[in-house]
């Protein structure tokens, strides 16, 4: 890499964005913000297959966005930091504003 500014923190930063760069993972994050949940509960609530949810959760855990806690044979997933939801909300709001401005221009 010839770009000296690409340091470790930048990589981690982009990893976090990447982790949120899948619509199903965004749904999972919002669902866990609403309430920590077992994998199966999450799968049922979102209408997704359990292995799919489990795979996405692994990614979110590797990126330190969610954490786990055993509950008998089940595993409870919860957000590590609720501020990430705030970040997502802000992003969503900016997106909405930009879209609104664009449709103003087009009309």
């Amino acid at each position: 890499m010839t770009c000296p500014q690409l340091e470790e923190l930048d990589l981690l930063h982009s990893h976090i964005c990447q982790a949120m760069g899948d619509p199903k993972r965004i749904l999972i994050l919002y669902a866990l913000h609403e309430q920590p949940r077992h994998v199966t509960a999450l799968a049922d609530d979102l209408g997704l297959p359990q292995p799919t949810v489990s795979r996405h959760l692994r990614i979110l855990r590797q990126r330190a966005l969610v954490t786990t806690q055993r509950d008998g044979p089940a595993v409870v997933y919860r957000l590590v930091d609720d501020r990430m939801i705030h970040v997502l909300d802000e992003m969503r709001q900016v997106l909405r504003d930009v879209m609104a401005r664009q449709s103003e221009i087009l009309s």
Copy 2:
């Protein structure tokens, strides 16, 4: 898609995250926040090849994160909305906090 909650806005939302999910694009966004720039200036300042920067800029433009303005044969790129930088900063801060908490636990 069997998941009814996966609507258009969710897709756009994840597209934005995805757009920021590359370290070079994060650098580009911060550089443009500092100052709008030509493609070549951006490439020089970041130490990246011009075609690479151009390709990344196209992605950022398609996702409505940056906008363009001709300046003779050159093209000036600028951020559509500076709040996206604020979002990135917040994300970075949360990341830092989480990392700090983890190293506390490990020590």
